[in-house]
Structure formats: structure tokens, C-alpha cells
């Protein structure tokens, strides 16, 4: 049986002690870093929570605001449930033609929305307000044309451009009118 080599044991113990010490230091540092990281994360989360919570108080009011806007939108124009409903514009334009002593010589209604693409931002609103450009040429007395146009405003047909020319040899004028018609359409 061999006697224990205490020198060897001492060296091994010393090495093991040193390694253990290093491991302790390393472990401590890594844990401390993790704890520091978590503390930062917690502080960051607290900040986020505070920020979000402050805004969260307005969610209800935003919802109410949205509801108001949505309801209001339905009142801004005629609701066209179907495409054919838009043809009512023709009727409307011709309806008062005689009453205002003007004659429609050309009417072009484009049923494409000419609003900027705002409705693309609507994700859940069922209806959207659309604007349809209408090209209209009428003849009649200058004052009648003006009255006719004033009348169209009440029916949510708004003048966007106007060129008036006197017709040579006549007291009438010919007006090329750009109009906008509106409709609330289901998306």
C-alpha cells in the first residue's frame, strides 16, 4: 500500500480550490449580469406599462369618437347599398332641369372613388364615404346656371370646376361644370 503523496494532494486541492474560486466568481458575475439585465428589463417594462396605461385611459373615448364619426358618416351622403343605387344621381340632375330652365347637354358620371386612399386605412368600418366626379355641360341663362348650381349643393353635388362661355348670338351661356357627388358605400 502506498502512502498518500501529500504534495500531490496539496497541488490538486489548491488547483481545485482555485478553480472553484474562479467558478464562484464567474458564476457570481454571470448571475449578477442576468439580475442586472432583468432589473433593466423590469424598469423598461414599468416604463412601457406606465406609458401604455396612460394611453389606455383614452381607448374608451377613442371608441366613442369613432362611433360618432361612423354615425356621422352615414349622414354625410346617401347610403348606396348596391351599385345601381348610384344611378339616382342621373335622376337627381335631370329632375330639376326644367325648373331652373337649363338644359343638360352632356352628363358623365364616373362611379369610381376619387378621394385619396384614406379608406384603405379603414379595417373594420363597414361603410366608407366615396366621392364620384361628374362632368356636366349645360346651357341656359347665366343666372339660371348659377341658381341650378346652388340648388345642386343642397343635394350634396358640389361644384369643383366651372367654365362659362357665352354662346354667340344667344343670350344663353354654356357651362362646363365639374361636380362631386358623394355616397356612403359598403366596403
Amino acid at each position: 500500500m502506498k502512502i498518500i503523496n501529500h504534495k500531490k494532494v496539496f497541488i490538486l486541492t489548491t488547483v481545485f480550490t482555485f478553480v472553484s474560486f474562479l467558478a464562484l466568481v464567474f458564476f457570481n458575475i454571470s448571475i449578477s449580469r442576468k439580475i442586472g439585465h432583468f432589473k433593466n428589463q423590469t424598469a423598461d417594462l414599468d416604463q412601457q406599462i406606465n406609458f401604455i396605461t396612460n394611453n389606455a385611459n383614452d381607448v374608451e373615448s377613442v371608441k366613442m369618437q369613432y362611433d360618432d364619426e361612423a354615425n356621422k358618416m352615414l349622414t354625410l351622403a346617401t347610403v348606396y347599398d348596391q351599385e345601381i343605387d348610384s344611378l339616382k344621381i342621373f335622376d337627381l340632375l335631370h329632375e330639376h332641369e326644367d325648373a331652373f330652365s337649363v338644359k343638360i347637354i352632356m352628363l358623365d358620371v364616373q362611379l369610381t372613388d376619387s378621394f385619396p386612399p384614406v379608406k384603405n386605412y379603414l379595417t373594420f368600418t363597414p361603410h366608407a364615404l366615396e366621392k364620384y366626379p361628374i362632368a356636366l355641360e349645360i346651357t341656359g341663362r347665366f343666372l339660371d346656371v348659377g341658381k341650378y348650381l346652388e340648388h345642386l349643393i343642397t343635394h350634396q353635388l358640389y361644384v369643383s370646376s366651372l367654365n362659362v362661355y357665352s354662346i354667340p348670338g344667344s343670350r344663353d351661356v354654356q357651362a362646363s361644370i365639374g361636380l362631386f357627388s358623394y355616397g356612403v358605400k359598403k366596403i
Binding site: K2, H6, K7, V9, S20, L24, N28, I31, Q65, Y66
Partner: protein, 785 residues
Amino acid sequence: MNKISSIQKAILKVFVDTPLSASDIAKQIDFPQDKIYYHIKKLEAQKKIYVADTEIINGITKKKFLPMENEIESVLPPPKTMPENQAKALKNDDADELKEQKQKDHQLDDSSSDIVSQVSTPSPQGPQAGTDSNVESSLIENLMKHSKGSPTPLYNQSISTDEEIEREIEEITINDETYLVPKGGLDYEELEYRVKAAKKKSGEAMTIGENNIVKEHLLRTRANIVDEEIAETEEETEEETEAAPQEKKLKKKRKTLFFHTQWLNLYRVLNGYSKTVTFVHHGNKVAFLHATVKPKGFRIHHKQTYTLPYSSGEKNYNTLTELISYVLSERFKTSQRKRLYVAIYSSEYNFEIDFMKVPKLKAKELHNYILMKISKEFVVKPDNLIVNWKLSRASDKKDAMQNAICFITDKEPMVRDTDILSNQGIPLRYTTSIVKLQYDQFFYNHGEETDGNALLLYIGEAFSRITLVSDWKIIESRKTPLGLDDFIDLYLKLQQNEAEINFETAREHILNNPIFEEGNTLLETVYDKLIAEIELTLSHFKRKKLIISENVFISGIASIIPGMIERISTSLELTIKRMNIPKSMDKKQNEGLEEYYDNIGLLLDPKDQLNLLPYRHRQNFKFFFPTKLMEIVLAGILVVFAAVVSVQYNAFISIKGPVAEKEYLVKSALMERDTFFKFFAEAEALKALARAQEQDKFAAEKTVYFLKMLSKTIPENVKIYSLELTGEQDAVLNGEIMYNGSNPDLELNNLSNALKDNKYIMDAQLLSSNNKTESLFTFEMILHL
């Protein structure tokens, strides 16, 4: 085997008997001094040379070297090759030179000069021929070391080679071996010198054991003629003792023991002194003690005295190692044996003590220095020695030398026994001289009662020891070959007629009965010899101006003879106290422990100082304490590690929990925020659409209003050709104005002013005008709305 270069061989050849420095060597072999150090270091590392002396010059230690004994042999030519006449001449030269030196330095008396002429067989090589065989055989060299009556300095019993002188030799035959011993007196210096210079007639190397045999013989011779000397020494010492008390008072500084109870125990535990087993071997008696070291002393588990040869069953155990092996295997399991602290003392190991002054050297250099010095003093091969020493600093710090107490023993029996036990898994930890055991008992058990000065008497089985302790240091120790065995031997002779009495019963009787009261006058003669030896030793101490303390302690088996201590006290006129075991031991354990005091002595020094086990064995156990300490540090680190892990883990958990909770909160808050932005975006989009429609309506109303206003504003004489609304802000108006005799510019101004009066028209600028007829002109205007 290490090869040496030609330079190194040349270096070895330059040595005679005087230590040489590196510069001396370089000069002698005509070699560059700066390069010689390399070769010297090589030779030193190969143990070819050693540092034999030092000299401090301007604070720098200058080392001087001498070759090791065996190197002298290998380098110098063999003795027979030297021409006889040359050898004679050398002998005569050396003898004359030494004689002169002796006369000059030591002022020898006339008789010494006569002795020089009586040299019988001088070595042909002279003092420089120090080969191993020649070191042993060159008796003249050894005999020339000392002169009779030369003063020996304190601490330095060694004989300087500078003080060599020739001596007459006498032949002494002991146990069929003839020794050549220089003739001389029997006082201590002389006796020491004669023993150290003794040689075997056969020319073989001496051992420390054989030195002891010669010493014992000379001491016994002296004991027979001691009565006359006592009378002489008493007269001499009377005057000297008067000065002693004054010096004693100066030494009254009480030294506190460095290690106390708990700390001492801790230190012992760290050094492996927990479960201990000790064997003390005197003659044929082996005292075995199994004890555990406790904070307040010892707990004895077993004690037994064995007699060698010891029989158990059919087996006989003849030697100490066999007995140790048997006892340990009987009492302990193999796994337990590894953890035991095993210490032994055996009177067969021939321990010697030497006090010397040594230079301040590194441990390795000092080892070689001491080894060589002792081997020269005792005329023993250095390879056959085990030495250990303890240094005590010189009082003067500038002193280049320091005091050393050296313990010496023969290597062969020690290595043999250690190896035998090691092979059986028994790790020997400690063995030392009885002087150290007695000193430890004094230091640890009686130290606090004294001021560090004491006279320690040891009366053992075969010999006695008188040791002087001054300021906690052993400064002198003398051995005398009288002990219990002498009493027993004489008692056996007296009781020859009684058939039943043998050595054992005689021993028992002497140890347990007041023998001095039985009127055994012959026993008184042994006692008287013993007292005479002690008195002679004390007078020797006094002659050396050593202070003999009033603290006198006695131990050893013979000291337990009833009435012995009181009798010695009376004879020496000193108050002698018995060495006691630690006071803390309970009385039950104390009973019958007298025989085991030496065993306890082996357990007292936790540093294992002056250990005489083989060097490699001692070195191995040098790492025991740091290993244990490191284990404690490791355990501490692991505990701290566990604590830190626990704390950190708790901190980690305490943070990780809320983080998850907060993450969930953030997640739900983010969802809420998304909802907010979703509705907000939808509402804003709807608002934008409504606003756009509102803006269109406003523009249309503006246009209509503008037309209305234009129809009201334009005078009758103005006819409009066209009106173009080019944008929201501008309108271009073309028309004609009819006028009759008026200024057309005035008409245009009127028109322009009329238009500007309208709050919807910011400005009206005429772009062009043209007279069409005398009463009609056309115009073109731009209106900023």
C-alpha cells in the same frame, strides 16, 4: 549520473581544505570570474560542492565553497599513487604548520608539543586528502582537530578544522570491534572531541550508533573515576555560581506561549494530530499509547507496554516495526490506519545532538553545510546521516552567523524501518530525540510556570540526559550512560540467590518500592555515580558560564522510583519537580501514565520540529498542514459558493417572477394600445373623409356665391364672353365693354373697383384690353379669389 565538464573538474581540483569564494576559484584556474558562477551553481546543484562559509561584505553575502566528501575522493589521486617521500614531506609540512598554528593560536602547554611528536600513524595525504576512505582512515586529520583543554564556545561543540593538532591514539575494543580513539581527558569537551574523532581500526565508516558506543564506553570509564573529579569541580564552581543569580534575574522575562488551548488544538487538528498512536521503545520495552487530541488535552484510549520479543499466538514479533505493524493491524482497520498520526521513539536509533553556529544560507545550502560539518565532526559519511536542525537568530542582527541545534541519526535503520512501515500502509509522522520530547513536555506543560529557563533531567532505562534550556531554547544537553537498567542489573546481582527473580520482577520491584530505604548500599553506588555524573555536568555548564535555572524538572522511567526525586533534590540541593502530563487530563486517565510520558512528548509539538525521519518522508508531510488548510479554504469557498448561489438564485427568482407578470401586463397593455390606435386611425380616417367633403362643399358654395356676386356686380354695359375658374383661387374673365364717349380706361377701372369691392375677390388684374370699335373694347382679367 551527472557529467561534469573539464572546467568543473578543474574547480573541484583547486580545493584543499579552506573554503574558496567564486573569485578565488576563478583566479586559481585562470577562468573569467563572471562565467565561473555558472559552473559553481552547476556543481552545487549536483551536490559536488557546498557552501562552507559566508562573509558579509558591504551587506552582500560572499559564499565560500568546499567540495562534498565524495568529490574529494573522485578528484584527488588515490593515496597509494602518491610517492612515499612526497607524502612524508607533506605530512611533516602539515604537522609543522599545524603545530605552529596551535602554538600561536591556542598557546598550548608544553605537553601538547610532546604529543605532536608522538603521532603514530598519520595519513600520507595530510589534511587535504579527505576521501571517504581516507576521511575515515586519515585519523591524523581528525586527531589534529582539537587540543586538550581548548575552550569550546557556547553552542559550538564542533571542532574547527583550523584548530587541528596531532594526538596520540589508543585502541579501545568494545563488542569485538576495535576503535582508534585519541588519548585525552574525560571532561566534556575532551570526551566529545575524542568520541567525534574516533575511527574504526578496520577503516570502515563509523555510524552515529558506533559513536554512541564509544561515547558510552568513555562515560562509563569516567563514572568509575568520577569521585575525584567531583571534589575538584566543586571547588572550581563555587566562585562561578555567585555570579549566576544576577544573570538569572535578567532573564526573568516571561514568555507567553504562542499557541494557546483552542488555537493549539486547531493547529494540531490541521496537522493531523487527532487520532494518535505512539510507540516509545527503550531496551526491550515498547510503550504503546493510543490517544485522541482534544481541545483541553488528551483522551487516552489504550495504553500497553510490550516486551520484545512479543509473542501472540504462534507468531513472534522481534522488532519494533513488527510490533507496530502487529498492534496497528490488531487495533485498527486499514482505512483507519491512514488517518492515524503515528510517532515513534526508539533508543536503538542513536540520536545525537550538536550545537553549532551556521552562516545565513538558503535551506538547501544550509542542509549541505550542516551535513558536511557534522559528517566531518563525527567522521561519518554524509550519505549515512539524517540531520534536522532548528535555528535561533543571533542576538546581534549584523552577525553573519546564527545558532543552530542539530539532531542527527543514522540513516540506514531509519530508512529501513520507515520503508517497512510505509509498505504496510503505516505513515510514520515523527521521531526525535528524547531531549526534544522532554523539552516539549516542559514547553507545553510547564512553560507557563517558568520564565523560559530550566534544567531538565531525564533518567531513562539505559541512559540519562541533562538538558539546559535558556530563554526557551535548548542550549546544552549531555548524556550519561546510567539509567534504570543499571539499578536493575545491580539489583539482580544482589538477589542472585533468589531463584524466582528475573529482570522483569526486579524492574517491577525497583519501580514500586522505596529501594533506598531497604539499605541496599550497592544500589547506592549506582545512585552516587548518577549524581556524580549530574554534578559533573552541572559544573561543566557552570564552567561554560551557562546559567542553571532554579526550575528543575525530572522525567524518565527511573524518576518514578519511590523517593528518587526527593533524594536527587537533596543530593543536588535543588528543588526538583516531576514533569507532569497536561493538567487538564482527568485523574482516571492520569493513573499509571508515568511510563507513557515519552509517548505524550511525541504528541506535543504540532510543528514536528527536529523530526529525524528520512527527508523525503518529512517533506511529504510538510504538505499535510497546507493541504488541510487548503481543504478548509475549499470548504469555505464551497459554503460561500452555496450561499451566494442561494442568495443569487432567490434574487433571480424574485426578479424573474415580476418580469413575467410585467411582460404579461405589457402584452395586454400593448393589445389595448393597438385597439386604441385602431379606433383612433379609423376615426381619423372617417374624420378626414368628412373634412374633405366639407371642403368640397365650401368650395362649391364659394363658387356659387362668386357667380351670384359676379352677376350682381357686373354693370349693364359689360358683356361676359367667358368665365373660367382655373383653380380654387383664380378665375379668368373675358368680355367686352360698351361705352359712349367715356374713357375706356375709366370703365375698366370702374369694373375693376366694382369687382374688388366684393369681399370674395382679393384682387382683379387686367391682363389685356383691346379697342374693337370706337365704343367697344374687349378685356381679359384675372381675379384672385
